[in-house]
C-alpha cells in the first residue's frame, strides 16, 4: 500500500492535537475537530485513552468517527452509558475528567472562548449555536485543549461574548472564580500551537507546524502574537498517523451517506 505522505494543514492540526493526549487520560470530547483528534490518538499512540461524550457515553471506543455527539456507535462501544444529568453532575463537575477538548468560534489572547454570538448579544451579527457543555468543561476539566483554525476573525483581542472562560482578564482570575481546572494549556491550529505564558496567561506561539512561518501565524492572529523564546517546530505527521486519520475520516464520510 502506498500512502500519500503529503498532508493538508487540517491533517497536521488533527495530528498535533492527537499528540497532546496520553495514556489512560479521561478526555471529554466535543464533536468535530476535537473528536477527530481524540479518536486519532486512541487509534495510534494512546489506545487506553478514555473518551467521554456529553451524550452520556463513558469510555466509548468507536471504530469510526462519530457523526454527532449522540451517534449510536458511541453507545454501542461504551463501557457505560449514563444519562445527561449524570454525565455533567457525577462525571464532569467533580473533576473526574483530565482533559476537555473544545472548539471555538472566537478565542482571545487569554484563551476565553466564544460560541454564542458575533456582535452584541441582543442584536447579533451572527447568532452562533451557544454554550452546550463548554462552560463547565472549561471550568472543571483538569486542563483544556482547544482545536480551532486560525484567522484574525477567530483569534481576536477580546471575544464578543465569554461563553467558556479561559484565563478571564489575566493572572489570578480563574483562582478568584474558584474554578478547579487549570484552564486551557494549549490551542492547536493548522499553523502551530499556542500556549499560555506562565506569568501573563497570554497565549504565545510555542510551536510552528512544518513550513509555517512566525509571520504567517502572527498574520492569522488578531492581537500582537508573542513568540516563545524556545519556539519549536512540530514533527510532520507520520505515515501511520496519516493512514489512521484518513481511514477514520473515510469511514465517517461513508457513514454519512
Amino acid at each position: 500500500m502506498t500512502v500519500d505522505v503529503s498532508y493538508s494543514t487540517d491533517e497536521m492540526m488533527s495530528v498535533a492535537a492527537a499528540r497532546r493526549l496520553h495514556g489512560g487520560s479521561r478526555c471529554f470530547v466535543g464533536i468535530g475537530l476535537p473528536s477527530t483528534a481524540a479518536n486519532l490518538a486512541r487509534a495510534t499512540h494512546a489506545p487506553d485513552l478514555v473518551l467521554v461524550y456529553e451524550s452520556g457515553t463513558l469510555g466509548a471506543k468507536p471504530g469510526r468517527l462519530p457523526l454527532s455527539i449522540g451517534d449510536g456507535v458511541l453507545a454501542d462501544t461504551a463501557d457505560s452509558v449514563v444519562t445527561v444529568p449524570e454525565i455533567f453532575n457525577y462525571w464532569l463537575q467533580p473533576g473526574r475528567i483530565d482533559v476537555g477538548f473544545l472548539g471555538a468560534a472566537q478565542i482571545d489572547r487569554f484563551a476565553n472562548i466564544n460560541t454564542t454570538v458575533v456582535g452584541r448579544y441582543h442584536k447579533p451579527t451572527v447568532r452562533l449555536p451557544g454554550a452546550g457543555g463548554a462552560p463547565e468543561i472549561a471550568a472543571s476539566c483538569g486542563e483544556v485543549v482547544v482545536v480551532v483554525r486560525q484567522s484574525p476573525r477567530t483569534f481576536v483581542e477580546r471575544v464578543d461574548f465569554v461563553t467558556s472562560i479561559g484565563y478571564g482578564a489575566g493572572p489570578g482570575d480563574r483562582e478568584r472564580l474558584g474554578l478547579r481546572g487549570a484552564g486551557p494549556t494549549a490551542v492547536i491550529t493548522e499553523l502551530g500551537v499556542l500556549q499560555p505564558d506562565l506569568d501573563s496567561r497570554e497565549l504565545v506561539l510555542t510551536h510552528l507546524h512544518p513550513g509555517v512561518t512566525v509571520k504567517q501565524a502572527q498574520a492569522a492572529t488578531g492581537w500582537p502574537l508573542a513568540v516563545a523564546a524556545d519556539l519549536q517546530r512540530s514533527d510532520p505527521p507520520t505515515e501511520h498517523e496519516l493512514v489512521v486519520l484518513r481511514r477514520l475520516q473515510a469511514s465517517q464520510a461513508e457513514e454519512a451517506e
Partner: protein, 274 residues
C-alpha cells in the same frame, strides 16, 4: 394510566397556544413527527424548551409557532447553523424570538429539579461566563454549611414534554434504550407528556441500559413508526444524514422554507418534504 391515541389527537389534547413545550432528544430519538404535527395544527406563542434544538425546532421557529426558546445549544449537528433560528434571532422573522440561554449542565439540572418537585437546582456552573449577565434564570446561592457560592437555576416544568421511544406495551408502559439523554427527567418534570413510539409490543423485554417509564407516569402514547426521522431510533433505524444536509439548503432561504412548510401543512409525509 397512559392512553394510547393517535398523534394528531394527542397533540390536539395536550399542546395549547402559549404552552411551554419540551420536545427532548439528544441527537437520538428526537420526536420530529410530533413537532411537525404541532406545525400542522398551527399552534402559536409556544415557549419551546430543549437542550439541543435542532432541525425540528428550526422548523417550528420558522413556521412561527414559537415566541421564546429556552436552550443550551442550537445547531444542525455536523452541518452548521439553524438558519430559521438565526433568521428569527437576527431579523425577527417570521416573528421575534425571545431567548433564554443556559449551558447543558444548567439545562440538565433544571429538568432534574423539575422532575424532583424542587423549585431550583444547584451546580458549579457559569462562573466567569457572560451568560450570567444575560440570563435572568441564573442566580447565586450560598452553601449553608461551607459558605461557598454556587450557581442556582430554576426548575423547568413544561406544560407538556414530548419524547420518542422505541416501544410501548398495551398498558402504555414505555421503554427506550441507547442514548437516553435527559428524556426521563424531561417527562417527569412535565405537567403532561406524550411519548411517540416505534411500535407496541406484547411485552417490554428488559434490555441493558433501558429507561422504563411506567404507564402511570405519562399522559399519552402515540404509535408513530419512524417518528424520530431524520434522527435515529437505536435498534430500529439509522440517522438520515442526507436530510440534515438537505435541511441546510432548504432552511437557508425563506422562500424555499415556505415551500417546505406548505408541504407540511398540506399533510405531506415528513420524509417526502426534502
Amino acid at each position: 394510566m397512559a392512553e394510547i391515541v393517535s398523534l394528531s389527537e394527542a397533540v390536539r389534547q395536550l399542546v395549547r397556544d402559549g404552552d411551554t413545550v419540551a420536545l427532548e432528544g439528544f441527537t437520538h430519538l428526537i420526536p420530529v413527527a410530533a413537532g411537525q404535527e404541532i406545525i400542522r395544527q398551527g399552534r402559536l406563542d409556544l415557549t419551546l424548551v430543549r437542550m439541543t434544538p435542532d432541525i425540528v425546532y428550526d422548523q417550528l421557529i420558522g413556521a412561527g409557532c414559537a415566541r421564546k426558546l429556552v436552550f443550551s445549544w442550537g445547531g444542525n449537528p455536523g452541518v452548521g447553523s439553524l438558519h430559521r433560528f438565526r433568521d428569527a434571532v437576527e431579523h425577527a422573522w417570521p416573528r421575534p424570538l425571545a431567548i433564554e440561554e443556559h449551558s447543558h449542565a444548567g439545562m440538565a439540572n433544571r429538568y432534574v429539579a423539575g422532575a424532583s418537585g424542587l423549585p431550583f437546582a444547584v451546580l458549579r456552573g457559569y462562573r466567569g461566563t457572560d451568560l450570567v449577565e444575560h440570563t435572568a434564570t441564573i442566580r447565586e446561592i450560598t452553601c449553608p454549611f461551607t459558605g461557598e457560592v454556587l450557581a442556582a437555576v430554576p426548575a423547568i416544568n413544561p406544560d407538556v414534554t414530548i419524547v420518542h421511544a422505541q416501544q410501548a406495551d398495551h398498558d402504555g408502559n414505555v421503554q427506550m434504550w441507547g442514548i437516553t439523554g435527559v428524556q426521563n427527567e424531561a417527562v417527569l418534570a412535565a405537567r403532561s407528556s406524550l411519548v411517540t413510539v416505534e411500535e407496541v409490543v406484547e411485552r417490554l423485554e428488559p434490555r441493558p441500559g433501558a429507561v422504563v417509564l411506567p404507564s402511570w407516569s405519562i399522559t399519552n402514547v402515540a404509535v408513530v413508526p419512524g417518528g424520530a426521522h431524520p434522527s435515529y431510533a437505536h435498534g430500529y433505524s439509522d440517522r438520515d444524514n442526507a436530510y440534515y444536509r438537505h435541511w441546510d439548503a432548504i432552511s437557508r432561504d425563506r422562500a424555499e422554507f415556505g415551500r417546505w412548510l406548505d408541504g407540511i401543512r398540506s399533510g405531506h409525509a415528513t420524509t417526502a418534504g426534502v
